[in-house]
């Protein structure tokens, strides 16, 4: 992994506007940052990231199969009891999943270490699949990158193919107020449209329930499949949370993804595959074995987003912490594994799965050791 100080294209904002990238800046500061990029070798990508991603995802599916048969495991993940049946039924049916993102501490050398699995509502998808790809093609065309430069990024191709497999029609929903969420949903709807599926958008607040138990639009038209960029842990706690069991409506992601999109996954994975080179030792906070981690660890709420409520401790001293509204469901403690630092920036590697197949890489950079929602997206290349 090398840092390439390429300098940004002077007209990238116009290019972003032309490509529908509406959230490239946040409060005036760039979220998309192409002043530099990171380069990997093909071997680093394939053996260091792609193969472990496939392996860990398979391990996760094995864990789901175990978890749905064990109410104690489901409860340990922060899933409320009234939602167990919806989770179990969706797994028994093998409801298809669309995508997910494994987040790693990985600097190209040595094994990538899994920090968490954003299996339910990951964003940074459009930036990865479209604008990062356009940046590469444009940079090649302008001679800013050497011929033969590639990128680990089949996200767009794979999304369109995956929607074709899943079939339609598919309705899309999210809370409308967040531009990044709306942008991600609009992109996924675009992919489904290109796969030949009938699509439509329904605001989350307008989703209704009919007397047959189906979720519908505001006029009562049933939504056969509903993609929701709204986490299951929130949906379970909403008024409709106890109306999910038995509904004919199918969801993307399916309810069984709630088993994976929780930090409670981490101690279970470590227990299933202790010593796995891509896993960090992890325990529930109420497990006395957490003492094995010593005085350097990261404490994470079982349910949290954007790095909120994470506490990072090194040699008994607080290295970093981030406040937030989470933590009521308990915490896990994971061995401390620092992100690689380049030019003072901590770089987090996100490895995309589409269906069950590793599909691409996104890098996000932050001055803080905990990656939050102020992190910047930085493109990558595979060096020729």
């Amino acid at each position: 992994m090398r840092r390439l100080a390429l300098g940004e294209r002077p007209d990238w904002r116009a290019q972003a506007a032309a490509a529908g990238f509406t959230f490239h800046s946040l409060d005036g500061a760039p979220y998309w940052d192409e002043t530099h990029a990171y380069a990997f070798t093909l071997d680093e990508i394939e053996r260091g990231l792609e193969a472990p991603s496939a392996e860990l995802h398979a391990l996760c599916l094995a864990f789901v199969d175990r978890a749905v048969g064990d109410a104690a495991i489901l409860a340990s993940l922060g899933i409320p009891g009234h939602a167990f049946e919806a989770v179990r039924a969706s797994w028994r049916r093998r409801d298809p999943s669309l995508y997910g993102r494994l987040d790693f501490a990985w600097g190209g050398e040595g094994p990538a270490k899994l920090l968490e699995y954003n299996a339910d509502t990951p964003t940074a998808l459009y930036e990865t699949g479209v604008f990062q790809w356009l940046w590469l093609e444009d940079s090649l065309a302008r001679g800013r990158l050497p011929a033969g430069t590639d990128q680990f990024n089949a996200v767009h191709d794979r999304l369109v193919a995956r929607f074709r497999e899943i079939g339609g029609p598919v309705a899309f929903t999210c809370m409308e107020a967040a531009p990044e969420d709306r942008g991600t949903v609009a992109y996924l709807q675009d992919c489904a449209h290109q796969a030949g599926l009938a699509t439509r958008f329904v605001p989350l607040e307008a989703v209704a329930l009919d007397s047959a138990g189906a979720f519908t639009d505001a006029l009562g038209a049933p939504l056969g499949t509903l993609f929701k960029l709204y986490p299951w842990e929130w949906a379970f706690r909403d008024a409709f949370g106890d109306r999910l069991a038995g509904t004919p409506t199918r969801f993307l992601e399916p309810p069984w993804k709630a088993v994976l999109s929780t930090k409670g996954l981490l101690p279970h994975l470590w227990a299933m595959a202790p010593g796995h080179p891509n896993l960090l030792p992890a325990y529930f906070e109420d497990d006395p074995r957490k003492g094995a981690l010593g005085a350097s660890f990261v404490r994470k709420p079982i349910l949290s987003r954007e790095g909120a409520n994470v506490l990072m401790v090194r040699d008994g001293a607080v290295l970093a912490r981030r406040d937030g509204p989470y933590g009521a469901e308990g915490h896990v403690r994971q061995a401390l594994c620092a992100l690689p630092v380049f030019a003072g920036q901590h770089v987090l590697a996100g490895s995309w799965l589409v269906g069950d197949v590793p599909a691409g890489l996104c890098l996000r950079e932050s001055p803080d050791p905990i990656t939050g929602n102020a992190a910047r997206f930085v493109p990558h290349v595979i060096a020729p």
Partner: protein, 220 residues
């Protein structure tokens, strides 16, 4: 927008490339096109063209169906009405569904004390070839959800005995209704609850110490 890999005029991806061959966007670029597609109704739901008449005279006067068809429909609807009209335990419950002044005390075979909506007309197919059954129609109370959704240019609408909704454009007898309603199948499910998703997310967004310009953000 379609950005093809520059395989002809540049160092494009080779066999075994790790990236997408093409990236195209259809909906995201061009807000107008996106809005049009988003507003379009789900085409997987089959629909039928039907005619809505207040009485036999209206059916005959328009002449879209033969006089014999109009008369047969009128006879059938009068025979059906007492048995298929939805029944309500009291006048208030009936008027909630069918509007103020839209109800009357039921006659046999309904049990005494029940209320039913007045017969407002009937619905038949646009043509005999559709083989649609004749259905009595009842006025439906103004629909707040539909008005809130901005559907305009339609009358308050009717409902069938099965609870299916039927709207005609103002001043028109033509109605396009779902095939399930037109064929008088099982009563379509009705919305029983709304607004049941989002409260938790809004609550978290309000309490989050850092967020995207103060807005709720559910992705991660």
């Amino acid at each position: 927008m379609q950005a093809n890999a520059p395989s002809l005029d540049g160092p494009g991806p080779t066999q075994g490339s790790k990236r997408s061959q093409t990236v195209s966007l259809v909906l995201l670029v061009g807000v107008g096109a996106a809005a049009l597609v988003l507003a379009r109704r789900d085409p997987s739901q089959r629909e039928e063209d039907t005619l809505v008449y207040a009485d036999l005279a209206a059916c005959r006067a328009q002449g879209l169906r033969s006089p014999e068809d109009c008369e047969a429909a009128d006879r059938e609807v009068r025979a059906l009405y007492p048995t298929v009209a939805p029944r309500y335990p009291d006048s208030a419950a009936c008027e909630r569904h069918h509007g103020s002044g839209g109800c009357t005390a039921a006659v046999a075979p309904a049990p005494a004390g029940a209320f039913v909506p007045l017969l407002a007309g009937f619905m038949i197919g646009r043509s005999a070839d559709q083989h649609l059954p004749v259905q009595p129609l009842f006025r439906h109370a103004p629909d707040e959800a539909r008005e809130a959704a901005g559907v305009s240019g339609v009358s308050g609408g009717y409902c069938t005995s099965g609870g299916g909704r039927v709207w005609t454009a103002r001043g028109s007898t033509l109605a396009r209704v779902s095939s399930a309603v037109a064929r008088g199948g099982p009563a379509p499910a009705r919305v029983v609850a709304t607004g049941g998703f989002g409260a938790t997310g809004h609550g978290v967004a309000v309490h989050a110490s850092s967020g995207h310009a103060g807005s709720g953000h559910a992705g991660g």
